[in-house]
């Protein structure tokens, strides 16, 4: 067996056997699913509560309009005096009292309706009440002006713009959201992967250094070989962990949702569809949108940028590990890693979502240190192939260059003990 394979195997086994790794692998999905179920459960708890709102209507206009609906019950206190009504609301611990005073005109009335409550009522309830009153008053205004309500209702036009590109494919308005979610999740995952597994590479380098086994090993293998073996072995452990997470998470989520009857499907999509008021067609378009995303390209580029980004950063992590004696000392060198990662995420979440093909997004999807994240977030919006190609070529080029530089720092650093190097010193090592 070649030495590289041996090193990869050892690193893989060392990572996988690590107690923390095992715990993380099996506990994380449990914790995640637990959190999701908890949130979902809490949300349903909240929704079950029925609000009780009393109303005191001096005009008598609305007695039939406030009908109990879903989570709000209306109680008519118009037969009492206003003060009695207020008292009973307090005594019975109702959620509030709506006061509709008698006014000369509708326009005056519209401005003088009041809501008494100890705690500010929820916006959604207020909105609903406002809507009921506004509807009633509008209709009254129409009638006063002698307009036929049925005629008005019939002449209302319903508009739902269908988006279609020039080659005739229809998309829904949700399309942008879906693309954002796909890109955002991919970019975020990549950042987490780089930080978690890059740190593992660094720790393993520091371990060899502080164990003093390093000189024994590099008298058998080339330092660069050892570094690459470490990076590869750790990445395989990472992929295994990710697979377990996906499978375990999926199974757990399925189990939990069937047991508790919670539907963990994307709630946001359901709601926004309800808001748009439609319809079979819209759902179909959304599904079509997902299918129509360049899934093949997406998955392929996800892998390429994932691997590329990981390699780029983990060789920097390895160099840092070689330069320091302990993990505490590594903090001072974290900036060149964290800064571009953060920049990538911020550019992704602000510029790309605002304008996926703007100058900022395009430039940052070319710069190798940020390109894996930013380009991943841009790809769902459709990026010309040549831009992706240039970005990938730049990435590959800089991986080779950075690995070469990191290798130089690594081979000097692993044999240096006892001094805290500065950036200046690292620069000198590159020339040894």
């Amino acid at each position: 067996m070649s030495n590289l394979k041996l090193i990869i195997k050892r690193e893989f086994i060392a990572r996988v056997r690590n107690k923390t790794f095992v715990m993380m692998t099996f506990l994380s999905p449990l914790i995640m699913v637990g959190m999701i179920s908890l949130i979902a459960w809490l949300a349903t708890l909240n929704n079950d509560e029925i609000r009780k709102v009393a109303f005191y209507d001096e005009t008598g206009l609305f007695s039939t309009d406030f009908k109990d609906s879903g989570d709000v019950d209306y109680i008519d206190y118009s037969h009492l005096t206003l003060n009695d009504a207020k008292d009973s609301v307090v005594i019975k611990k109702l959620d509030g009292l709506l006061y509709v005073p008698k006014k000369n005109s509708n326009s005056e009335l519209a401005k003088s309706i009041q809501f008494y409550a100890d705690e500010a009522p929820s916006i959604s309830i207020l909105n609903r009440i406002e809507k009921i009153i506004a509807n009633k008053l509008t209709n009254q205004n129409f009638e006063e002006k002698g307009l036929d309500l049925d005629a008005i209702e019939n002449s209302k036009a319903k508009v739902n713009i269908l988006i279609e590109n020039f080659s005739g494919e229809k998309t829904s308005k949700m399309s942008s959201y879906i693309k954002m979610i796909f890109g955002g999740v991919a970019g975020y995952f990549l950042m987490m992967f780089i930080i978690i597994y890059g740190n593992m590479v660094m720790r393993s380098v520091i371990e060899e250094k502080s164990n003093r086994i390093i000189e024994i090993i590099i008298s058998s293998v080339k330092p660069l070989q050892l570094m690459m073996g470490k990076i590869l072995g750790t990445s395989f452990a990472g992929i295994l962990q990710f697979l377990i997470w996906v499978i375990l998470g999926g199974v757990l989520l399925a189990v939990v949702s069937s047991v508790f009857g919670i539907n963990p499907q994307p709630v946001g999509i359901d709601q926004s569809m309800a808001m748009q008021g439609d319809s079979q067609q819209e759902i179909q378009l959304i599904l079509q949108d997902i299918m129509k995303l360049p899934l093949g390209t997406l998955v392929l580029s996800f892998f390429i940028y994932f691997i590329g980004g990981y390699f780029l950063y983990s060789s920097i992590y390895a160099a840092i590990g070689a330069a320091v004696d302990s993990e505490t000392d590594s903090q001072q060198f974290m900036l060149p890693i964290i800064l571009p990662l953060m920049l990538g995420i911020y550019v992704g979440f602000f510029s790309v979502i605002e304008n996926p093909h703007g100058t900022v997004s395009t430039v940052f999807s070319m710069i190798p240190l940020t390109s894996p994240i930013v380009m991943l977030m841009r790809i769902p919006f459709g990026v010309p192939w040549w831009e992706v190609l240039i970005s990938m070529l730049l990435l590959v080029g800089s991986i080779i260059f950075i690995t070469w530089l990191a290798g130089k720092i690594y081979r000097v650093g692993i044999l240096m003990y006892g001094k805290k190097p500065s950036y200046k010193e690292l620069f000198k090592w590159m020339k040894y």
């Binding site: 067996m1 030495n3 041996l6 090193i7 050892r10 060392a14 371990e207 060899e208 164990n211 003093r212 086994i213 000189e215 024994i216 090993i217 590099i218 008298s219 058998s220 293998v221 080339k222 330092p223 044999l415 003990y417 000198k428 020339k431 040894y432």
Partner: protein
Amino acid sequence: MANLLEVQQATKQFGNFTALQDVSIQVPKGSIFGLLGPNGAGKTTLIRIINQITLPDRGSVYLDNEPLKPQHIRDIGYLPEERGLYKSMKVGEQALYLAQLKGLSKAEAKERLTYWFDKFDISHWWNKKIQELSKGMAQKVQFIVTVLHKPKLLIFDEPFSGFDPINANVIKDEILQLRDEGATVIFSTHRMESVEELCDHIALINKSKKILEGKVTDIKRAYKSNTFEVGILTENNTDLYTTLQGKFDVTPADFKTIDDQLKMKITLDNNTSSNELLQYLSDKGQIMRFNEVIPGVNEIFIKTITENE
């Protein structure tokens, strides 16, 4: 005798610091070669160059008359001064791993490890983790891993540090046996008594330069000053001492005896032989002691280095 290893004019600089300057050494096949020098002299750099851990800026290295190549790693066994093992890995596992890195197949490595573990009576360590072993125990494992692939050239950097005298002896005997089986040994240490005991060749490095190299016997011959330590029983010690002072270069000496002898060191000039001195002394009293003063490696070490300061 052919040389197994030849280093020619090796120079290595780290920035402005010169670690080695034009150092050449020749290590004869089957010898135990002592690489000596004060701390920071450049020994470790030279050893790392031989192990291809560091590349020299200038100069070349030949192993068995071939320029040093990556494949030669398998012909060398190196026990560095800074040594350790993976703390959380089992002894057997990591011995296997390290042996495989040196090119042994798994089966072969296992067979040889079993042999050595039995020899050192440590078979029950196989499934222990290094963190459960003492430092000396871990050193034994490291020694085994160093010699397991039967390299032509063995390099030991302070091999006895961390061993108690009994185990140090065990290791010393193993080194001698490996030499007898045909291995060549480079031996870097500060402990002069072990150099005296083991080495037949030495090189002395100071401040990045080699200042002395050769067979130990040749070097001693070169450093001896034709001085003899003499113990003689006479009626009157002071009389004889004054007489001798007139004829030879005499200084008082001190060594342990059971009776009251005249003890002195006599240095002869090149025209006088030891026999003439002996003849001269033979009727002056009863000669109890007469031996040539041969400098120890330690003296040579200190003398050469102070001369070169």
